[in-house]
Symmetry: C2
């Protein structure tokens, strides 16, 4: 089976044009099939502030009202297009998925949470792997934004890029040997949060239990790792959590960097 | 001298994704050097309305305040990126100019008009033809949005796409035999505004005077034609005013459609 990498990038890379350029240069050189999933970063919040559009928060969670959704849509779609264009300049034929009607992601508007309607926020049901596979076979690199389309209401919904990456990886396991890579600020999962170099090279399910019991894994990391193990159980071959700068050497040269999650 | 076409598209094409797709397919097939200049259309106004951001008008003219400018910037840049991506899909390597610091267009913020400050509106001083020439020689097709950068203030300024097209055409006459094409809704300059087929095939300066004296040319058309004659006097070989659908056959097949303005 051919190898395919689903790679997720987040805030720090997206908010710096320079970092994004460097990352996309690396991404373009990957020798395997690939899909890119990007988060939204803080650009939408900044744009809303410039327009004096207040974000409403209830119980610490943002309410995505109609205006916020329009802003998020404009900014995320703009970012998606930037990525597509930069990839083209690097010789990589990309296609964007930004929550238009023909989106490959199906999602449902989230219901009330403790009686509160948080607005246009979606939960992903599934990613259409067949449609993605077809595009990839045609030589395209899918680039997915965290906005999805709700067929029932006709609205776009705001979702989570980590989850899109997970569902995308899962949807492609019948066609490829899929590896899921989460790029973030740190070099990997750390044994000691104070020591940025204390990367744990590999985590298996039994080792994960030990790490949790010993309290070595920080609270914030647990949902990410739970997600990673779910992907593994759904047939994804490995999940790598690494710094964006290291992504290329890990994939193209097999460098032992970042944290790999395996069965 | 090699032929080069500077082509301007406006509102009607930009506001319909379908028309834009068709136009860009045609544009991609043009056998000559080419530059595309696009207007903004009504998308920015619609977006502002959705966000409840009121446009202020004084004496019937819009005031481009900071918020309006941010909206215009986001929407026009998004449109520019859409065009770049669609051109790529049609096999055409495009590069966007959207009023960033490295813009090839130099402009100055317009001063007070009858004592009123209309905000971030710019008058174009010149287009850097040498920089465009270099890009074109590298195989790029420049795509220009009506936003420009003011080096003095560091702000973007809103300008007029017709004028950008004119300055762009003028800036390239030392390198190419330049033809300037204004695509719009009608088939050309009409002898009788009621008869959409009464296209005047060719207008020379002396004929233009006759047409004006006889009152055949409508008020709205006069600035466009004055502009066209200025381009001709600046060394542009011809100015064509035509319907977007006819652009391809006029350029590639020499079809006698639209109105041609010559010396």
């Amino acid at each position: 089976m051919e190898k395919l990498y689903v790679i997720k990038i987040g805030g720090n890379i997206i908010e710096s044009e320079n970092l994004l350029d460097l990352f996309l240069q690396d991404f373009s050189t990957l020798n395997y099939g690939k899909v890119l999933v990007h988060g939204g970063g803080k650009n939408a919040t900044k744009f809303a502030e410039e327009l004096d559009i207040k974000s409403m928060f209830i119980n610490g969670r943002r309410v995505t009202d109609k205006k916020t959704l329009r802003i998020v849509d404009e900014v995320y779609s703009g970012l998606n297009k930037d990525i597509i264009i930069k990839l083209f300049y690097n010789g990589c034929k990309a296609v964007g998925y930004t929550g238009k009607e023909d989106s490959v992601i199906s999602a449902t508007k989230r219901g009330l949470l403790d009686g509160v309607d948080y607005g246009y926020v979606g939960d992903i049901n599934e990613v259409n792997g067949d449609a993605l596979y077809e595009k990839i076979q045609q030589g395209y690199v899918p680039v997915m934004s965290p906005l999805v389309y709700d067929r029932e209401t006709g609205y776009k919904l705001n979702t989570n890029a980590d989850t899109i990456a997970y569902f995308t990886a899962k949807s492609l396991v019948k066609y490829y040997e899929v590896h899921l890579v989460y790029c973030f600020e740190l070099k990997g999962v750390l044994e000691n949060i104070e020591d940025k170099n204390s990367v744990i090279p590999e985590i298996t399910p039994s080792y994960y239990e030990q790490l949790k019991q010993k309290g070595i894994i920080s609270q914030g990391m647990i949902p990410k790792l739970d997600n990673a193990f779910e992907a593994i159980h759904a047939g994804v071959s490995s999940v790598i959590i690494c710094k964006a700068d290291d992504m290329k050497s890990i994939i193209n040269e097999g460098a032992s960097l970042g944290t790999t999650i395996r069965k």
